[in-house]
């Protein structure tokens, strides 16, 4: 054990400060220190993406980020995307198209998908598959996940057009 350091994180728009060992992993800091349990640990070695959050504008696997590295960062998790009063379009779309089963990969998957659509609002099916290839789902075979994301993209684009 080493001395604890002072860590500041902005998570889902809220500032947090806490003490942590540098080696603590961002995923555990979120889950255990801040009780943000949406992101999960699936593989421990950055292959499955269940721990995906957005950190400083990037999709990252929070099991492979030390909390020390994240110090000062802005983090968005599934909890920051939408809640009971206003779901994110992707959250709605996953429900609508049966894009989830056990739900364990879902927070990481949806969080990743938000970033994917932000960078590529009009993806092809192949681009969606390539863009979520860092997130493993064991239940759905991905078919309905891909459908959910494509449908959400169409809906978001339609909403944008309507607003113009």
């Amino acid at each position: 054990m080493t001395d604890k350091m002072h860590v500041k994180l902005n998570v889902n728009g809220e500032d947090h400060e806490f003490l942590a060992e540098p080696r603590e992993l961002l995923i555990y800091a979120l889950r255990e220190k801040l009780n943000i349990t949406g992101p999960h640990v699936g593989c421990d070695t950055s292959h499955c993406g269940a721990c995906t959050v957005t950190m400083n504008g990037k999709s990252v696997k929070s099991c492979t980020v030390f909390v020390a590295q994240a110090n000062g960062a802005e983090v968005t998790t599934i909890e920051g995307l939408g809640g009971p009063d206003a779901l994110h379009i992707l959250q709605e779309s996953f429900k609508e198209h049966h894009g989830l089963q056990c739900g364990f990969c879902t927070p990481g998957m949806i969080t990743r998908a938000t970033k994917l659509l932000e960078e590529n609002p009009n993806p092809t099916e192949a681009e969606v598959r390539f863009g979520i290839a860092g997130n493993i789902c064991r239940c759905t075979g991905y078919q309905n996940i891909v459908k959910s994301i494509l449908s959400a993209a169409a809906e978001m684009n339609a909403a944008k057009e309507a607003a113009q």
């Binding site: 054990m1 540098p22 080696r23 992993l25 950055s46 020390a68 979520i132 290839a133």
Partner: protein
């Protein structure tokens, strides 16, 4: 999986980094994206009592293309490479290769510097850098120096970089002609079963120059000078490709692992190279 404890540093200038490396010697490592190092630390296969984070150092990331030379800062991520229009124009093989590294999340964090400096035979950038005849820029207590990518790798995880040096950038002349990065892997996120980086330039319908490097087929990347030479002056027809493949095969030394036995890897290496040459030639 929990790593052993370490002291963490986030210096704001290179002097600070070097000073820490000098102070702690082999007990210190620099970290960029950390996507090679952190899993190793979590598996407790790498113990790093002093971890020096490079994220706060100015000027370590970015891509410049000027006067036919491309320079890429060590902290530039694969994601940056994929999204750089100037790089895509000047050295399109970089994007083609970067898209075949790991997965989207890892590419946001994984850096060029980490990929080339780590010395992991499975990493894709080292072979690519050898293909492009890049120089690696190192900063250490005795100042700056540059090492040719082709001279940098000694063995798995063993490189020309001294313990107190930091790799700050890579640079190379903008390649001319056709290119291809061909990689066979088991799935997204895997290292290569075999991968080939090929640049070919063309004059009068013949190969004017060719550079060929292979990945994950030895304990270092393999730049096969003879394979490239076998193409020069030829029309990239069947015989020339065969000669290049034969030459390459005498330079690689794959080992058996879960991706398959040696015979398969050698065969796959030949196929992958043949396809890379064909694609590069079609673009030359």
């Amino acid at each position: 999986m929990i790593p052993a404890a370490f002291e963490y540093y986030r210096p704001t200038d290179m002097e600070g980094v070097i000073a820490l490396l000098q102070e702690h010697g082999d007990d210190a490592r620099v970290i960029a994206g950390g996507h090679s190092l952190i899993p190793m630390m979590k598996l407790r296969m790498a113990e790093v009592p002093h971890l020096i984070d490079l994220q706060a150092i100015e000027g370590l990331s970015g891509i410049t293309v000027a006067d036919g030379t491309i320079s890429i800062g060590a902290m530039t991520t694969q994601h940056d490479i994929i999204n750089s229009a100037s790089l895509a124009a000047a050295a399109p093989i970089m994007k083609e290769a970067a898209l075949q590294i790991a997965d989207p999340q890892v590419r946001y964090m994984g850096t060029v510097g980490g990929n080339v400096a780590n010395g992991d035979p499975g990493n894709d950038m080292p072979g690519l850098m050898q293909c492009l005849n890049a120089k690696f820029h190192l900063t250490g207590p005795d100042g700056d120096r540059a090492v040719d990518a082709r001279d940098f790798y000694e063995a798995a995880y063993m490189t020309e970089r001294e313990g107190e040096e930091v790799l700050t950038a890579v640079s190379f002349a903008a390649p001319v002609g056709g290119y291809a990065y061909e990689k066979q892997k088991r799935k997204i996120g895997d290292y290569a079963t075999a991968a080939a980086a090929v640049q070919i330039s063309k004059a009068d319908g013949k190969v004017a120059a060719a550079s060929i490097a292979m990945t994950n087929l030895s304990d270092t990347p393999v730049w096969s000078q003879t394979a490239g030479a076998a193409l020069v002056g030829a029309d990239c027809g069947e015989a020339a490709v065969k000669a290049a493949v034969t030459a390459m095969l005498s330079d690689i030394d794959p080992t058996e692992d879960n991706r398959g036995p040696v015979a398969f890897k050698r065969h796959a290496a030949g196929i992958v190279l043949g396809r890379a040459i064909a694609r590069a030639w079609s673009r030359a």
